[in-house]
């Protein structure tokens, strides 16, 4: 009993690594930083932090004992990553963590990788983020990556001609289906199309991430593009896939106030959903209220909403499956679980990560909405009403 209450106290406390609210950083920015830190920890990144070896700055060759330097980097890395996860001085932790990785890069040329540099940049920009302000530095950081990537491809003759793509997909990844389709078309036409599509997507994402009105489109474009790369190559490019997906969070308008969820008090399925989501709502960000007796806006009749959850976020209203989806997407716990699912080791005989990634993308994408709604209605269609005694007490209590 004492253990259970202690555990309950911990899950509700700010030290809980799964919580992101109530800190100097906005919940979505802190969540992004935590996901990057967790990804680095799960990859055992601290083991890879180098000693000075062919540094970019020659001064780093004269910092004393290389082993001591490496040890100091590793200790700083682990300490700052753990303190970030446990919500202790989150911005200082981001600063130390990002600086440690950047110092590691500067101290060794062979250690230089774009995906590592990207993680360092995200953490440093999170550290420089004004408390309470919009994360514009982080947004520009993500846009800069796409600008650099798109421009470099556009300026490269092997990208424009399709030579890189042909060599990469056919020569390196031995994509049988791609090779077969390519033979139907003249020369490098398919590779040329793919190359130009990549260039256009990257430059479009650069523009999309700069214009707030395109954020929604750019987020979906970013996730779809990165997942397509993972699916076609089976590679996450080190930490790049995870970091790029996590960076999408900084473009999300994360709710500042509690969200209200209206549920049908007479619906067994809805009650189960409520219990499920309340159990995993570590931030206490959702207020649940019975639909019966609660004033509904927009003229929707109570009958039309029976059996359907209704999530209210400012002027946006999500109903049914869409509400369930948003309940998941506005809960930081979901992202930790997704990261663990995507980072789980896969056996050599079945590389399932790409399938998990595509399935998750499909489930959360707007395209799945109609099917999701149908499944949701089917589940609630079988709802059985609670005993009359409970139905006679339709108090619109906020739980």
């Amino acid at each position: 009993m004492a253990l259970a209450s202690g555990l309950n106290l911990f899950t509700k406390s700010f030290l809980n690594p799964l919580r992101c609210a109530g800190q100097d950083l906005a919940p979505n920015v802190l969540l992004m930083a935590k996901l990057v830190a967790l990804c680095l920890l799960l990859k055992g990144f601290w083991f890879k932090l180098p000693e000075p070896f062919l540094p970019f700055l020659s001064i780093l060759d004269h910092v004393g004992s290389p082993a001591l330097f490496q040890g100091a980097l590793q200790i700083a890395f682990v300490a700052s990553a753990v303190s970030l996860l446990f919500n202790w001085r989150v911005q200082v932790s981001c600063l130390v963590l990002g600086s440690t990785i950047l110092l590691g890069i500067l101290s060794s040329r062979p250690f230089y990788e774009n995906n590592t540099l990207f993680c360092a940049c995200l953490l440093l920009m999170a550290a420089l983020q004004r408390p309470g302000g919009k994360p514009w530095l982080l947004r520009w950081q993500v846009a800069t990556v796409y600008f650099g990537a798109g421009l470099n491809k556009l300026a490269d003759v092997d990208w424009r001609s399709g030579q890189f793509f042909q060599n990469w997909v056919v020569g390196l990844h031995h994509q049988a289906l791609y090779t077969k389709i390519a033979t139907w078309l003249p020369g490098l036409l398919l590779s040329q199309i793919m190359s130009w599509a990549t260039i256009l997507i990257e430059l479009s994402l650069f523009i999309g991430f700069l214009a707030p009105r395109f954020y929604g489109l750019a987020i979906w474009g970013n996730i779809t593009f990165q997942t397509a790369l993972l699916f076609s190559t089976g590679k996450t490019f080190g930490k790049f896939y995870y970091a790029m997906l996590a960076s999408s969070l900084v473009f999300v308008d994360w709710p500042k106030n509690d969200l209200t969820v209206l549920y049908d008090g007479d619906c067994d399925f809805c009650a189960k959903l409520r219990r499920f989501f309340k159990r995993f709502d570590l931030e206490g960000g959702f207020r649940w209220a019975r639909l019966q007796g609660t004033q509904t806006d927009g003229g929707a009749s109570e009958d039309s909403l029976r059996g359907r959850l209704r999530l209210l976020n400012g002027r946006s209203v999500y109903v049914g499956f869409e509400a369930v989806k948003m309940l998941l997407l506005y809960n930081p716990l979901t992202y930790f679980l997704l990261l663990l699912m995507l980072m789980a080791p896969q056996p050599s005989f079945f590389a399932y990560r790409r399938w998990v990634a595509v399935t998750l993308l499909a489930l959360f994408s707007p395209l799945f909405g109609p099917l999701g709604d149908a499944l949701y209605d089917r589940a609630t269609g079988n709802r059985h009403c609670l005993p009359r005694r409970q139905r006679q007490n339709p108090t619109p209590a906020v739980i």
């Binding site: 070896f53 540099l117 800069t144 030579q163």
Partner: protein, 149 residues
């Protein structure tokens, strides 16, 4: 141990300083906060400008450091390192420079920079002779020599 109740000495001076600091805090602090935020923003903007300038700089040089050109090149290469009259095997060669075996997904200039820097610093007295054979993006094979012919 209780605090000494001295009227003279350093304690009143400290009190005076502290009181003065507290009285000015309300006026000084917002300014400090604004400056702190400004410095933060400036560092962030400088960091972004550095990246943008590296993206532009990359148009004029063969290397691609800090300019976001991830996996835009595929280099197949092997190294032949002649050291004190004997040739290192492939694994020894790659380990000497801590380079990955089986392909390098960055411009070939990065490999050249690594090998050259090693031979100019740590391996200066080894007088190694190196031949690197490489293909970029599946194109024709090329060679690079150290020391340069």
């Amino acid at each position: 141990m209780s605090r000494p109740k001295t009227r003279g000495g350093s304690l009143p001076l400290f009190k005076l300083f502290w009181t003065s600091l507290k009285s000015h805090a309300s006026t000084v602090f917002p300014l400090g906060k604004i400056r702190f935020n400004l410095v933060r923003d400036l560092i962030g903007v400088a960091f972004l400008l550095f990246q943008f300038s590296m993206v532009v700089y990359a148009r004029f040089v063969p290397s691609r450091y800090f300019c976001w050109a991830p996996n835009d090149y595929m280099v197949d290469y092997n190294l032949q390192v002649l050291l004190d009259g004997h040739v290192l095997n492939a694994r020894e060669s790659f380990r000497r420079y801590r380079l990955p075996e089986g392909g390098y997904q960055a411009p070939v200039q990065h490999i050249i920079d690594i090998v050259r820097q090693y031979e100019q610093t740590y391996g200066k007295n080894d007088h190694a002779r190196i031949v690197m054979r490489y293909r970029v993006n599946g194109r024709e094979e090329k060679e690079w020599h150290w020391p340069a012919d």
